[in-house]
């Protein structure tokens, strides 16, 4: 078991964003976290990565209680997070963005680091863009840069918050094969609205609704689930 949460809850001034979420994530799987807008997906992952303190409940990563660890220490334990709203270092070069992410782990010589960063940029489809400022990239390319930064530390758990938003069809196809190539070394937790991405990539799906777990299962089980259909999918797999 890589990640578990027990009774994880978060309240914002009386509004319940998450209520008693019990969540188990196996090593090596690709898990999708879906749900309608406002279901509490981002609140949940923010608590997992440590950007937001839970109101109650606990988070266990590789058997260690990390509920009270600050975000940077969770990252050091092997988590990585890509932001839903692109959050790259806009005024730094694309190369430096990834290098910052890679450098912490590999106090390596410049040449090794350069090779590693170049390889990562190639992997996500940003080869040759290293010298550009991150702010000069299109929105979709900034999303790819986010993913490269997430991968740079070779994380055990990679949390992707709506990674395909703003990507073109071809880029989405490349993204899918990229994510597939990461498992089983990396476990992936994917928040995604694009149902074709979810259905094709995910081994299992957790559905959140109104801050609570509504359903859990394989893609076909979730598709067949009546409660999920009424809450979210509306009977169609192409939401």
């Amino acid at each position: 078991m890589l990640l578990q949460t027990h009774g994880l809850s978060r309240y914002f001034a009386g509004i319940t964003a998450n209520e008693d979420v019990d969540f188990d994530l196996q090593k090596g799987e690709i898990r999708a976290l879906i749900g309608p807008n406002g279901a509490g997906k981002t609140t949940f992952t923010s608590m997992v990565i440590g950007r937001l303190a839970p109101s109650k409940g606990s988070i266990i990563f590789e058997g260690q209680d990390i509920t009270h660890l600050p975000a940077h220490e969770r990252v050091r334990l092997g988590m990585a997070y890509t932001f839903q709203i692109t959050s790259v270092f806009a005024n730094l070069s694309v190369f430096e963005n990834v290098a910052l992410a890679a450098r912490r782990k590999m106090r390596a010589k410049d040449a090794t680091l350069t090779a590693h960063v170049t390889e990562l940029l190639e992997k996500v489809g940003l080869a040759g863009r290293g010298e550009d400022l991150a702010s000069d990239l299109s929105y979709g390319h900034q999303r790819l840069l986010e993913i490269a930064m997430g991968l740079a530390s070779a994380p055990k758990l990679l949390i992707l918050d709506e990674p395909t938003q703003g990507l073109a069809e071809a880029e989405i196809a490349a993204f899918k094969s990229l994510v597939r190539s990461l498992v089983p070394e990396t476990t992936v937790l994917l928040i995604e609205h694009n149902m074709s991405v979810v259905m094709e990539l995910a081994d299992t799906i957790t559905v959140l609704n109104a801050g609570q777990t509504l359903a859990f299962g394989t893609p076909s089980e979730v598709q067949a689930n009546a409660a999920v259909q009424s809450a979210y999918l509306g009977g169609s797999e192409d939401a």
Partner: protein, 314 residues
């Protein structure tokens, strides 16, 4: 030429030019440049925190004074030799900035500005209160015969200029190294996007503390150098004005550039110098120039050069 080669030739070139200047300039200008180099060292210290880490302090005069009195009190009252007193000043500067950092970094943004301002005011009042040691407002003058470093008489113009250049060059090359080293790059990441840097696994608080200590220690070195080279101390150096000046120098020269602090100090020093020749209201001219620069070159002199000419400028 590689970026490293270009960077090194530019910065070493500046040091070489400053070295050569002493043979060209008359004694008055030589004295000016020596003073500018010491003040630019102070600005370099300020720039580490403000320009590279993105933390705006309004109380850096306290670090300058920690160095100034950290050197001058042992020399004046206890006849400590200058070499040892300078090291003491550095240690006091480092320790004091660590303490201030631990307390002030519990706040962010505007609160950080206010807290540093208040700490600096406290230091100013302590200097006035401890008049027995500091002679308060009027300060004291270091006896000429004690102002020697390794047997070199620092009251001599040439020696003074050389010492100022060594101090400045050390601070300049140190920051050049720092901002290209992994730690310095994390400081830039903290400035650019704190949240993101934290989610790359960097301890933001620790890096901010490192920046405060480096910044405070360089500022203290400048304060100690000022007392040693120009011989005087005084509570004026602890006033708000001396906390605002490095901010202006850095803004003018280019925040977050290695050369910026020197360019800004040089520009403003001569601006005020020339304006004072023209009118008594010389601060009016200085103010107008500042407004113009802020309007037309908001990234400062070196920042504008980096934007339009040399993108590799560190």
């Amino acid at each position: 030429m590689s970026v490293t080669a270009k960077t090194l030739s530019l910065h070493l070139g500046l040091i070489a030019v400053l070295f050569a200047l002493q043979f060209i300039l008359g004694p008055y200008q030589q004295g000016n440049i020596a003073r500018i180099m010491v003040l630019a060292t102070y600005a370099i210290g300020y720039n580490v925190l403000f320009g590279y880490t993105g933390l705006l302090s309004l109380g850096h005069a306290m670090f300058f004074c920690a160095g100034m009195y950290g050197l001058a009190i042992p020399m004046y009252h206890f006849s400590v030799p200058a070499e040892l007193a300078f090291l003491m000043a550095l240690a006091i500067g480092a320790g004091f900035s660590l303490l201030v950092g631990l307390l002030a970094l519990r706040t962010i943004g505007v609160a950080f500005m206010i807290v540093t301002l208040m700490f600096a005011q406290a230091v100013y009042l302590i200097i006035l209160y401890a008049a027995e040691w500091t002679r308060g407002d009027e300060g004291f003058v270091l006896v000429q015969s004690t102002r020697t470093l390794f047997g070199v008489d620092l009251t001599d113009d040439t020696a003074k200029y050389a010492a100022a250049l060594v101090l400045f060059a050390t601070a300049l090359l140190f920051t050049l190294w720092l901002v290209r080293a992994p730690t310095g790059r994390v400081l830039i990441a903290v400035r650019e996007n704190e949240d993101r840097a934290s989610l790359l696994g960097y301890d933001i608080h620790r890096h901010k503390l490192i920046a405060v200590v480096i910044s405070g220690t360089i500022s203290a070195a400048a304060g100690a150098g000022y007392a040693l080279l120009f011989g005087n101390t005084g509570s004026t150096f602890a006033t708000v004005q001396y906390s605002i000046l490095p901010l202006l120098w850095v803004l003018l020269g280019g925040a977050g550039t290695v050369l910026g602090p020197f360019l800004g100090t040089l520009f403003m020093y001569y601006l005020i110098d020339y304006a004072a020749d023209v009118t008594n209201a010389y601060m009016l001219i200085a103010g107008a120039a500042l407004v113009a620069l802020t309007l037309f070159a908001p990234t400062g002199i070196a920042g504008t050069v980096r934007k339009h000419l040399w993108r590799w400028l560190p």
